[in-house]
Amino acid sequence: MTLQRTPLYDFHVAHGGRMVDFAGWEMPVQYKSILEEHKTVRRAAGLFDVSHMGEFDVSGADAFAFLQRLLTNDLSKMTPGRIVYSPMCYPSGGVVDDLLVYKRGDGDYLLCVNAGNIAKDLDWIGEQLVALRKPDGARYDVTVSNRSADYALLAIQGPRALEIVQSLAPAAGLGEIKYYHFKDGIEVAGVRCLVSRTGYTGEDGFELYHAPADARALADALFAAGAPLGMELAGLGARDSLRLEAGFPLYGHEITADISPLTAGLDWTVKLKKEGGFVGSEPLAAEMESRASTAPQAQAALRKVVFFKTGDRRIVRAGAQVLNGAGEQIGEVLSGTLSPVLNEAIGSAIVPAAAAPHPLLTDIRGTKIALQLVKPPFVQLKK
């Protein structure tokens, strides 16, 4: 299979990016050092190419009603310019993908989805367009189109991100864009962008959607403006450690077709009281009831995603066994890395809900290491 490249492939190579296969894309995992890039984002700013992410237009008279059925979160309070994060579930309550919904106007939404899930999501949404019906039995009047090839996406993240982007768009009032809001049609260094105050690091920052043909000019301009303020290029390695330190889920790890958003602790994204229900709402409601139930059967079936640190520098990697005090396997590690800020191993794991208050261990090359449960984020975040 040929790996896909973003419009910034040459830019990455010119800056020493180490290119690896990520979800079928040839992407920079790092430029100089994952640990340094991570710390630079927390201290100053980092520039990430995330053009591999997918974008779908969802438009039509019933776009809102359809998305309300398709997604677990509630879009009813969205006004144009707002962004909502939501899982998209199977009827089982497992997760198809997690995504951002941008409301441009009534009947006009943009979804940003994970790169590795673009084809799967399109198939799934296409099936739902046929399967889901309005209360009167009619089909939803919605058009979904894959716009992924029409957008390049740069993320600039860190305490100095605003200062850097503002220097390239002084009159645009970027500081007034609130977290999880966006403005379209802003010129940044002369490049027309949809500017979104979002990110995946837990820091303040922006994501700039723009035409692929403009990507190199925008990246060069941001690099030139940011470097004097301590900004560096950051790769997918730092993107992963930053999101884990912030306690954000990654599709395929903390949320999967087998791990529901409630199991993952994303209760705030599951609006069970939303009018008309949504795909997956019944098993998710049942999972919520099991939590409140004192019946042993209900409790035994419940699992929970937990976050841990170890006080040790040895990384507890995804797939490692989680053991109880008796040494029996009761769960599995979902993500693991070294927190560059805490200088110790951090990670997430899935365990029986009832096991969480008891000692949890893992084994690294014959040494038992205790998993100390932590309520994320692992570090104090600005956002």
Partner: protein
Amino acid sequence: MSNLPQDIKYTESHEWLKIDADGIATIGITDYAQGSLGDITYVQLPKAGAAFKVGESFGVVESVKAASDLYAPVAGTVVEVNAALDASPDLVNTAPFTDGWMLKIRMDSPASTAALLDAEAYAKLTA
């Protein structure tokens, strides 16, 4: 590779070996190896007194990306480990041939290094 020290031996598994006059050899991993691994976060080493055969795993080097075994270039007994790597495993990144050394071992048979690579052969291997 222009930065390869000429006075030491190399293995195909990217360890290096520097032999002193008294039969003590210092072992580490090459600049190429640390570059491939990326940020090194942990180095697991044996205790002094441990003995290894040629090619036997003597420890593990961990980076953010992966954990990799370390292999003994020669047979011998550990006389000293680099304790500085406990707190600063990044020395392997910043100074792989000097401050980032890992073990000193007393070689069982000082003549057993014939199978190892010289700088020129190792440079070809990693070209």
